[in-house]
Symmetry: C2
Subunit: 220 residues, 2 copies
């Protein structure tokens, strides 16, 4: 039996959540849809398309596919401007390095898209040897389970043997739908209760605490 | 008996928390102190000086008063650049207008400083008739109780008759030290459990829900 870890990217391995919130807030305000920062924060991690449509519906608007696409592009542009450099979260690089060294099966499954995610992967030292499934690889993003299922298939393991590691409730809900256990990290700014209520098997502060706790998850 | 409401400003009445997080993150990184967004978020609302020193200590540095002051100035400059306009949170203007109309005693007590907070007060329609206590009016900011006690004294009411309304655990902890009940709002991005654990008497989503719930607090 090969136990495996499937990681979310933003807020889990790289410190990008607050720049994403602010970039979304500005992109939406420019389109006449001002919305509270905390409500954006609580939706980060789901597909950008789903997110944009959900916000529009909340302010009583229906967006065309072209409008949704344009807002997502504008978000990506503002985000790059705000955060040209990507900062790995504490412990993320060391954890991934140890997994590679020990041959522990792992991959990354993100609602982000190439090429936007490339700088984050570089900052983490993730090369071609690591399975990375992105938004473009599946029909439906989180909270649908498709990203995690595609990653699991690419890793050649069973769902029962996978832990999903994520900072957002969307990761944990998608994990349950994929019949995988999940680990919630506080490094995306959710409260521990929200992660537990979404089904987290364990909650740690960040990748560094997960790294110190691998034994607890059966990677002894 | 005059029941009174004492409001925090950022994250409680105006939607500024995420811009503050990002501005702090950038100001600290420029000084060679990169720190996770979520750890900044969880400290927003305490005095800028306390906050800056706490972060420095965490990364193993001691800051002089001049360095602390310079980082706070840089934060204020980045914040103004990121967010030239201040957006009232849903229901905030309407709630304050009703309190004025009904003659319900209320004031604002903020860890922010004039002139930085002036644009927020203008956006809320708060004029000279409203008591506003800011960081410059007291020796020690939140989580010390001084701001709330100074506001209470200016309002001419008893601590027992005051509710503090805030989005951060620092508001709620300072309220308990001032022997006041408190109301936590989710609009600053904390989880409900964190606010309840810090002693919130009630938790609402935002000023709009508080407005609809005044009866519950005895402002019937």
């Amino acid at each position: 039996m090969a136990r495996a870890l499937i990681f979310d990217l933003d807020g889990t391995l790289v410190d990008t959540v607050y720049a994403h919130v602010f970039a979304w807030q500005r992109a939406l305000a420019e389109e006449g849809m001002p919305i509270d920062g905390w409500r954006i924060h609580r939706r980060i991690g789901m597909s950008g398309g789903l997110f944009t449509r959900a916000v529009a519906r909340e302010v009583g608007r229906e967006l065309s596919d072209e409008e949704t696409e344009a807002i997502q592009k504008r978000h990506a542009a503002i985000f790059s401007e705000l955060l040209p450099d990507r900062r790995p979260l504490p412990g993320a690089c060391e954890l991934l390095a140890e997994l590679r060294e020990r041959g522990i099966v792992h991959g990354i499954a993100t609602s982000g898209r190439r090429p936007e995610i490339n700088r984050s992967l570089e900052a983490l030292g993730v090369g071609d040897g690591t399975v990375v499934v992105d938004r473009g690889d599946v029909a439906r993003a989180k909270p649908e389970p498709d990203l995690f299922l595609a990653c699991q298939a690419a890793l050649g393991v069973e769902a029962d043997d996978c832990y999903v590691v994520g900072d957002a409730v969307w990761d944990l809900l998608a994990a349950r739908r994929a019949r995988m256990l999940s680990v919630g990290l506080l490094s995306g700014g959710y409260g521990a209760d929200e992660l537990l209520a979404a089904g987290a098997f364990r909650v740690y502060e960040d990748a560094a605490e997960l790294h110190r706790s691998l034994d607890e998850l059966g990677f002894g």
